[in-house]
């Protein structure tokens, strides 16, 4: 059984994750990952079939930063608001290296449109205590059930 403090530290990690994506600054979001982290956004059908193709694949914190910079400077997209709900945050194993699963939904609001569900699915994460003492994601697999994507996923999920 993990201790209460660790559980709350974990809850806060996910809260920070959500806030940085929904309210920014997006530039700070990669700092929640370890330097050599793996970040995947993968459709559930691929995940279940053992197919490797992900729609986002970042194999280092640097690649996360490149993705963020592209969102900021090169990708053309309509303005939108996003809002995360991350629930059932469940550490499978105690200790410094934790397998954590959680469910998520991201609601998208395009200008002058009604809110809609952009993506729904689960996180399959590996959370570690980094050298500086902070909890960080060493792996984050975003497995989305909403296989048919409503147009575009611009921001990370």
């Amino acid at each position: 059984m993990t201790t209460a403090d660790l559980r709350f530290e974990l809850e806060d990690l996910y809260a920070d994750y959500a806030r940085l994506l929904d309210d920014g600054p997006l530039e700070a979001w990669p700092d929640l990952f370890t330097a050599d982290s793996l970040y995947l956004v993968i459709p559930r059908e691929n995940h279940d079939a053992g197919l490797p193709l992900a729609v986002m694949r970042c194999e280092s914190r640097g690649m996360l930063r490149d993705r963020v910079r592209a969102v900021r400077e090169t990708i053309m997209f309509e303005p939108r608001y996003l809002r995360h709900h991350i629930t059932q945050i469940r550490p499978e194993t105690p200790g410094p290296e934790m397998r954590v699963t959680a469910n998520y939904t991201v609601v998208e609001v395009l200008q002058d449109e009604l809110p809609r569900i952009l993506s729904v699915g689960r996180y399959l994460d590996l959370v570690v205590r980094d050298t500086d003492g902070h909890l960080r994601f060493a792996e984050k697999r975003v497995v989305y059930d909403s296989v048919l994507v409503p147009n575009t996923i611009v921001y990370p999920l």
């Binding site: 956004v41 993968i42 459709p43 059908e45 691929n46 079939a49 197919l51 490797p52 193709l53 992900a54 729609v55 986002m56 694949r57 970042c58 194999e59 280092s60 640097g62 690649m63 930063r65 490149d66 993705r67 910079r69 592209a70 400077e73 090169t74 990708i75 053309m76 997209f77 309509e78 296989v147 048919l148 994507v149 409503p150 147009n151 575009t152 996923i153 611009v154």
Partner: protein, 407 residues
């Protein structure tokens, strides 16, 4: 149609916006283009390797089953029970000998031929089908099927020309460039529902003009530039097209100044995102092939993908991506393909621009009032051109479109 559609004077250089919004035009497109005399992409042989393997996909607005029969031949039929119209197959993929409708268990073979009707003779001498009921009168519409290099095409028309003469010489050659007989390996799928008319997707891919302006990421990293060596080539009918270009370097030029927000100082923190290696015999680094009526074959550096267009209604279509490599790829090449896939599909650093701009186009077009788009870049012709400052492939597309639609 309500009021007959009058094509603007500009001919194929002008496209009336009604083509993107009118339900009757859409119905006509489904009948004549998708379910008419065309070879529609439906999948890969690698997806149904064994006897009884099947997949379900869509041609236009019709659901179809593609399956490999017990002799290993690929077959296809309309996914609609002859009894009362139920969509037979519910799974995206599977394996079975007979296709059994859930409602009354009528069963069909791999060619959609009705083989079983429960209680056809009744029960205890009661009920059952009338004397004159003949099962063979109730087979499902079978599809013509053609395969090449592991790619499967199907048609509702029985008397189609061969795939080769359908594609034409050049397009066949470039098709073979990627599908060269090596065994294909599916790396995975991505699916989008894009809120725009399906033709906007073809316009987008057939239009090299936009690539050097809209796609700042491509230009920034020299993956695609107005001043690159490149060519646009069509088949004689104009239905299909090829955009072929050769990667340049990351540097500014007189031709990049037009790009408002070019990022010359953008250096990747992790360059593995872009580490293409040459894998084909020619100099082309990007070949985008559009195959009428529903396929895009993409070779962008080392990303290989098929995009299948499934129209939903005048204002929306689904885009189904199949990423693949070759069975003999080494781990490094597979890793490379998977990393470069970051540029494409639902969250693509490049293709996001396209799905977003297609929505903006549909939004703009649907504002009502008469209106038309113009395609004059590169003149008014429809012949091959050795550069990318042209909308020639769009003009060729609409030349063919008007013939098929008789508009």
């Amino acid at each position: 149609m309500a009021e007959p559609l009058v094509w603007p004077d500009g001919g194929i250089t002008e496209v009336p916006y009604r083509l993107y919004t009118d339900p009757e035009v859409f119905e006509r497109e489904m009948e004549r283009i998708f379910c008419g005399r065309s070879w529609a992409y439906v999948g890969l042989e690698a997806e149904i390797p064994g006897p009884g393997d099947y997949l379900v996909t869509r041609i236009g607005n019709r659901s179809v089953v593609i399956t490999r029969d017990q002799d290993g031949t690929v077959r296809g039929f309309l996914n609609r029970c002859a009894h009362r119209g139920v969509k037979l197959c519910r799974e995206r993929r599977g394996n079975c000998r007979m296709f059994v409708c859930p409602y009354h268990h009528w069963s069909y073979d791999a060619r959609g031929r009705l083989k079983g009707v429960p209680f056809i003779k009744g029960v205890k001498q009661q009920g059952g089908m009338p004397e004159d009921f003949r099962r063979e009168d109730h087979d499902l519409p079978e599809l013509a099927v053609a395969t090449r290099g592991g790619v499967i095409f199907a048609s509702f028309a029985a008397d189609m020309p061969s795939l080769e003469c359908y594609l034409g010489e050049t397009n066949t050659a470039y098709f073979d460039r990627v599908f060269d007989g090596r065994e294909l390996q599916v790396l995975g799928y991505a699916r989008q529902r894009i809120p725009g008319n399906w033709k906007l997707m073809f316009e987008n891919i057939k239009d090299p003009y936009h690539a050097s302006l809209l796609h700042v990421f491509l230009v920034t990293f020299g993956l695609f530039r107005a001043d690159q060596r490149s060519q646009v080539r069509m088949d004689p009918s104009g239905a299909h097209a090829l955009l072929i270009s050769q990667r340049g370097a990351q540097q500014a030029s007189e031709h990049t100044r037009d790009i408002a927000n070019l990022r010359e100082d953008f250096v990747l923190e992790d360059p593995r995102l872009l580490d293409p290696v040459k894998e084909f015999d020619d100099d082309a680094t990007v070949v985008m092939q559009t195959v009428w009526p529903n396929l895009i074959v993409q070779q962008q550096s080392n990303t290989l993908a098929l995009r299948q267009i499934q129209p939903c209604d005048p204002g929306a279509f689904e885009l189904h991506w199949t990423f693949f490599g070759y069975a003999d790829d080494d781990a490094a090449m597979t890793a490379r393909r998977l990393r470069q896939a970051n540029l494409m599909s639902a969250a693509g650093l490049v293709s996001a621009d396209d799905s977003e701009v297609i929505k903006l186009a549909q939004d703009g077009i649907e504002q009502g009032g008469a209106g038309k788009g113009i395609m004059l870049m590169g003149g008014r012709g429809t012949d091959d051109e050795p550069h990318m400052v042209t909308e020639v492939a769009l003009r060729a597309f609409y030349r063919h479109y008007r013939e098929v639609m008789e508009l």
